[in-house]
Amino acid sequence: MNCENNKDKIISYIENDLNENDRRLFEEELKNNSDLNSEYIEMKNLLDSMKNLPEVKTSSNFMVSLNSKIDEYEAKKNYKWYNTIFDSVSTNVRLLQGGIAALAIIFVIFLGTNVLDSDNSQPLMLSNSNLTEDVEINLTDSEIDSLIDSNKEIDSVIE
């Protein structure tokens, strides 16, 4: 039996990984081979000692320190979250303000146009109504001739 094979068998035996037959054969070998037996005992002791190594305890301040770091992280996270909301709201408010201003300008222009229209509407309506009405004008023949002459002068200038 070679050395590597022995090492594997020692570990398998300690970890109870050998089948019944191999286990019995290995136990026989342990009885007859003192080197193998001492190697086995040393390894068994080492593994047992490692299992029994004391756990290294955290300090009494561990939880306080951990919790304060987590609180700090949460505070930063919430601050970021608040800022994100605030920034988003600020941007929206600025957009809203711009929108309101634009609407106000449109409204003022619209209102102004209507006011102007309403100021001119009466005379226009009146003039329109005047146009549709039959107006009786009494002119003398000479006044009519003078008007015709003046029209002719205008026409000649235009031509």
């Binding site: 090492k7 040393e42 080492l46 000692s49 490692m50 190594l53 955290t58 951990l66 992280y73």
Partner: protein, 197 residues
């Protein structure tokens, strides 16, 4: 302060509870269950009490912040040991870089003042007074890192081969053969000190 209400829950139930409801008491119960185990692992791996405490805390903070990354397909212990193992290995790499830098900065005259590693100590140098746990702990520091973490997980923290395989992300067969080689190497280191356990 420990909340009895959570004692009967498994680790997996607690982390799911914490994920769904942000129940801080469920998280605290997990912290209570793992804080000493995490510190023990790092201390055995790096041999520095203050760093072990810091890394145990950093691991638990990562669990708090990254809680949603845990998936119920794996055991909670596998997840948390993977985190602490990665942090510990990173710390060890940093230390090695610092050590290399410091070493190259020293002149020949300074060499004799470099502290001896446990491996350098003579067999007759205080060894007789040391108990088994101290000898094992010091010998672990001499063991190669690839064997050290695997031995700590399996033989000190008593995790299953399957869990060690998942934490280290190496095949089960490799885990078993590496653990066996590591055990015999550790035994050799102890024997070189002239002591038996």
């Amino acid at each position: 302060m420990r909340n009895d209400k959570y004692i009967d829950f498994t680790d997996e139930e607690l982390i799911l509870m914490f994920q769904k409801t942000e129940d801080r008491s469920a998280y605290t119960e997990l912290v209570n269950r793992y804080k000493d185990k995490l510190k023990s692992f790092v201390f055995r791996f790096i041999n520095d009490d203050a760093v072990a405490e810091d890394l145990a805390q950093e691991t638990l903070i990562k669990v708090y912040i990254k809680k949603d990354l845990y998936k119920p397909v794996a055991k909670f212990s596998t997840w948390i040991y993977t985190i602490v193992q990665n942090l510990a290995k990173t710390e060890l790499r940093k230390r090695k870089r610092r050590a290399t830098f410091n070493f190259t900065d020293l002149g020949n005259d300074d060499m004799e003042f470099i502290a001896k590693s446990p491996d350098d100590m003579g067999a007759d140098e205080e060894i007789g007074d040391k108990n088994d746990s101290k000898i094992i702990h010091e010998s672990l520091q001499v063991l190669d890192v690839e064997f050290r973490n695997i031995i700590i997980f399996r033989d000190i923290q008593e995790l299953s081969y399957d869990e060690v395989s998942k934490i280290l992300q190496i095949p089960l067969g490799t885990v078993k053969s590496r653990i066996n080689r590591g055990r015999f190497k550790l035994k050799e280191i102890i024997e070189q000190k002239g002591v038996t356990i």
